[in-house]
């Protein structure tokens, strides 16, 4: 076993960007305030000095323009990492992502690859209110032609970007800003990870908690609490939201016969809806109980802490719901 190191989610992200820039000359980072400001969340702090303005490009507020430019640069042989400061602003770039990045390969009959990587800060939990707290994972996961990753652990913060840059097709990476300061342990030699598979983060036999993003550590925490009560839950980190790795979560459900789906995004037409529908289709006869969902409450996220907290599943909510399912 290799040595492990402790680092924050932010450091893991940054180390990956640095490694990517060192490894491949075609790689460059572009986004609002990635350079002089140091990154809105200090993820790219210092990189401008290290790599210069050709590799770390500050761009004006023009999400459609610079995201499209990143796609164009990818078409022409570069490996751009486009940072959309937060997912909230990605609505402005969606036409570029869905009508260009996701479709050019198809429309050109297989001629044109778009190896662009688009990173976005996202998530709820910093009291940023309705326009700055969106969870658009469900949108991106709906669209064929792109790969969609959710960085739920330090291991993935360190590895997903590197793997994404190996993809000949567009990859969208969701990074959860509420986790930036969180410390975690990863192997010293951690690097690229498999970006096709979901991952069992904790084995268990009584129920499958299927989740992604901020849901992963929350679910692991809930699992520990439940363990003390003799409830043994399995935690499945979807990781790849498109294309979904159903094999892994179906196998988990086939083992536990019960599932609770956990996510911060609004419940209707969410990732959990899809997971539930797939379990319905492919593991119905394995189920002892109906699959339940614990998702974001369907309200624009309110500013005050107590209301914001109430809008998304908390550890205690997960614990309570699992108890209710297993010991009604």
């Amino acid at each position: 076993m290799s040595k492990t190191i402790t680092l924050t989610y932010r450091e893991a992200l940054k180390t990956a960007i640095r490694e990517a820039l060192q490894k491949d000359e075609r790689v460059f980072l572009m986004g609002e305030d990635v350079g002089h400001y140091g990154g809105a969340f200090a993820v790219s702090k210092g990189l401008l000095k290290e790599f210069g303005p050709e590799r770390i490009m500050d761009v004006p507020l023009s999400e459609s323009g610079f995201t499209g430019a990143g796609i164009g640069a990818a078409l022409a042989g570069m490996r751009p990492i486009v940072e959309i400061m937060t997912v909230n602003f990605s609505l402005l770039a969606m036409d570029q992502i869905f009508n260009n990045a996701a479709t050019l390969l198809h429309m050109s009959g297989g001629q044109l690859n778009v190896p662009v990587v688009i990173r976005m800060g996202c998530g709820i939990g910093r009291q940023l209110a309705a326009q700055h707290s969106h969870s658009w994972e469900p949108f991106y996961a709906h669209v064929p032609g792109i790969n969609v990753l959710a960085v739920g652990t330090h291991e993935d913060a360190r590895g997903m970007l590197l793997s994404a840059l190996e993809s000949p097709d567009p990859v969208i990476i969701f990074e959860y800003t509420s986790m930036l300061n969180l410390e975690g342990d990863i192997p010293e030699n951690a690097g690229a990870v498999d970006i096709r598979k979901a991952k069992i983060r904790r084995e268990g036999k009584d129920l499958s908690l299927i989740t992604y993003g901020t849901g992963v550590y929350k679910s692991l925490e809930a699992a520990e609490i439940l363990e003390r009560e003799g409830i043994d839950v399995e935690v499945v980190d979807l990781r790849v939201l498109r294309p979904l790795d159903e094999e892994t979560f179906l196998a988990s459900v086939a083992k536990t016969h019960r599932a609770l789906l956990v996510e911060d995004a609004w419940r209707s037409v969410s990732i959990s809806s899809e997971v539930s529908a797939r379990i319905m289709e492919k593991a119905f006869f394995e189920l002892d109980l109906p699959v339940e969902r614990l998702c974001g409450v369907e309200v624009p996220i309110p500013y005050p802490k107590h209301l914001e907290d109430a809008s998304v599943p908390q550890v205690q909510d997960i614990v309570d719901r699992v108890r209710k399912i297993l010991r009604p």
């Binding site: 400001y37 200090a42 702090k45 507020l61 009291q127 326009q131 309200v299």
Partner: protein, 331 residues
Amino acid sequence: MKKTKTSKRISKAEGKRLLHQMQLIRRFEEKSAEVYTETKIRGFLHLYVGEEAVAVGVIQALDEDDYILSTYREHGHALARGMDPGAIMAEMYGKVEGCAMGRGGSMHLFDKNIHFYGGNAIVGGHLPLAVGMALASKKQGKKNVTCCFFGEGAAAEGEFHESMNLAALWDVPVLFLCENNLYAMGTALKYTHSEQQLEKKGPTYGIETATVNGMDLLEVMAATQKAVDYIRKTGKPYFLVCYTYRFRAHSMFDAELYRDKSEVEEWKKQDPILQFKKFLLEEQLITDKEIAAMEVAVEKQVQEAVDFAEKGSWEPVEDLCRYVYTETQGS
């Protein structure tokens, strides 16, 4: 484009009122920062310190019926419009007594009664709204102006272009009020715009345009008056670029790596409040004693706002799902 010269004539009462407004904004912002570090306010907090002459100078030229839209850096505009400081502070505390029931926080101040339409946190996103509101006024035969504040960073967004074009095509009474404080977060003007003189853009939409020194209250007042007169007379849009500067960080998270302290210090010499105080004293429109008294009054006002917020109440969690759909509809 025209540079506007001010007449610099003003009554004592007016002078005091304006200074009071600027000081209120300044102290309110400083207090907000304090309270933020006490973690009473959370989320983003964007302060307006240094730019007071713009909000005060522009808004004094507007009528009660005029509509105002602003950004996430809008406390100054809200105060200048006469929004209750207590309601703003309570909003930032997240209390029900806030101007938006606490739902919005610092970036989303709203008060329909005084026609203050946010507090919008998507950069550039409120420009089309402003054009639409002005269009409604036109259709309704109203004579009011819609004033839309935005930063120079916002002018790089496609929505700036679309909004300018629509407003000019439709001849609607909107004042595009660009607060050019030279930075969009940490991105300097030169990295944001290939043509840094933003005022050059107005004429290519056929929009009447002017620039003004945003650190000088009287000049802002005069320039805005001219703009508003033009809009009321013609019903057409107007583009006014105010050159200004924020003395503090972009938000509470900003380490200000992108500009030199010396640059900030240089700009502080043009502090709009100091300048206006000096002017009032020189013109003998105010006395040192009056200024001192005003400072005490402002301090009290700000403290009252904080007290009001402190005393405020939390919305019950059971009400979480309110304001998603209009309640009379019952959906």
